[in-house]
């Protein structure tokens, strides 16, 4: 009973926040509501027994998306300071019926899916049965890297494609602009960074290592590491740059390239494509992906082609 009450409370806040995010008075408040919506989503995942998703939603869904939206909002404000006022919604007679119909459609599909008997050859059963022989303890990591590795490979390709496309539409003359306006050299910021940065790196490496046996994984770890990069960019330690940086580009590609190479290697020994040779390969690919994911997200945030360390003083 308490569980159901908790579910209803989470759902009520999900729906309320969604309505507020879309229809609220100001755009900035909409962003805040959207970020809180992500956190409520992560509670919902926890209630649905999906801790990996709860963590991913909190780090990526709420954290990174929120940061991206706020920096985009700031750029809009820079272009046009009265931006928030132009958000009047027009009337549309068809909107409500269409929304109702699509909501009912989703509900009917979902209720039908719950009623349906699970098929005997369900893939999840095979995953849970064979997981022990692979040496991994977290079935979600197992699916992501061993059983449906192609999905994950394409996923980081999409992430890279998003970065390239975003860079293609970002104006070149904006790339040198700094992300921070305040004086970044106050002693407080230095002290804050001295504590937060090592802690963030520690947490992300822990998430990465934990991902093979329990909750965690490359995506959560990469998002936490990206938060560290965003913090460094906002406090002026990293600045946007236009210069080609082999190290940075290598970091962007290392996840994709190592996944492809390790995925191709089994062909040499007559094994099927993407049959990863062992747990070490999972660790290796996840570490490489963590670096690539973190760098991609930081570059998306900075809207820059490259980053450089800013000389201080």
């Amino acid at each position: 009973m308490t569980g159901l009450a908790l579910d209803l409370l989470i759902i009520a806040s999900l729906i309320g926040l969604a309505i507020q995010a879309i229809n609220g008075a100001s755009l900035f408040r909409g962003i805040i509501h959207f970020v809180v919506l992500g956190l409520a989503m992560s509670l919902a995942w926890a209630r649905l027994d999906a801790p990996d998703l709860a963590m991913a939603e909190a780090a990526i869904g709420a954290g990174v998306t929120g940061a991206l939206m706020m920096i985009a909002y700031r750029r809009l404000i820079e272009i046009r300071p009265d931006h928030d006022n132009a958000t009047r919604t027009p009337r549309s007679r068809l909107a409500l019926p269409i929304a109702l119909a699509s909501g009912v459609l989703v509900g009917v599909i979902g209720l039908a899916a719950i009623q349906a008997e699970p098929l005997p050859g369900q893939a999840g059963i095979a995953v849970l049965e064979t997981l022990e022989s692979t040496g991994l303890g977290n079935p979600v990591t197992g699916v992501l890297l061993l059983f449906r590795g192609f999905d994950t490979l394409l996923e980081i390709t999409v992430l890279l494609a998003a970065l390239l496309s975003a860079q293609a539409v970002t104006r070149q003359d904006d790339l040198d602009r700094s992300l921070t306006t305040e004086d970044p050299d106050t002693p407080l910021i230095g002290a804050l960074l001295a504590i937060v940065v090592p802690l963030t790196v520690l947490i992300s490496v822990h998430l990465l290592k934990a991902g093979s046996q329990e909750t965690g994984g490359a995506f959560q770890a990469g998002a936490v590491l990206a938060a560290c990069g965003v913090l460094l960019a906002l406090t002026g330690r990293l600045a946007s740059s236009r210069d080609y940086s082999p190290l940075l580009n290598g970091g962007l590609l290392v996840g994709l390239v190592s996944f492809i190479l390790i995925g191709l290697a089994p062909l040499l020994y007559g094994q099927p494509l993407m049959a990863l040779p062992g747990v070490w390969a999972v660790y290796f690919i996840e570490s490489a992906m963590m670096i690539s994911i973190a760098l991609t997200l930081v570059l998306l945030f900075a809207g820059a082609a490259s980053l450089k360390r800013r000389s201080r003083g």
Binding site: L53, V64, R75, T87, I114, V127, V140, A166
Partner: protein
């Protein structure tokens, strides 16, 4: 009513709210909120409808949704970049609405 049914109904409502927002909002960022909310509704649907396997949740929908969350943030980031560029070019990040010229200022 069990937890799965409750979350399926929640997904239905969230999807409806998202579709409604996508149609009525003028500002592109609100449209991005709406698309993300529709996506989240489908993610909840996928996980809530998966049958538990001997007490454990099915890992396959979870992995698919994890992939989906990352794809959603990629698409959102690209959408935001497009929106900022549009605002730079036209001075406006809203879609102009016919018959309501005051929206354009």
């Amino acid at each position: 009513m069990d937890s799965a049914t409750v979350y399926v109904l929640a997904a239905a409502v969230l999807f409806g709210v998202g579709v409604h927002g996508l149609i009525v909002s003028v500002h592109l960022m609100r449209k991005l909120f709406a698309i993300n909310i529709m996506g989240s509704a489908i993610f909840i649907l996928l996980v809530a409808t998966s049958a538990p396997i001997s007490g454990q949740t099915d890992p396959i929908p979870q992995a698919l949704v994890l992939t989906g969350i990352v794809i959603a943030v990629s698409a959102t980031a690209f959408g935001l970049a497009l929106m900022v560029r549009m605002c730079q070019e036209t001075g406006n990040a809203s879609l102009a609405v016919e018959d309501e010229p005051e929206n354009d200022d």
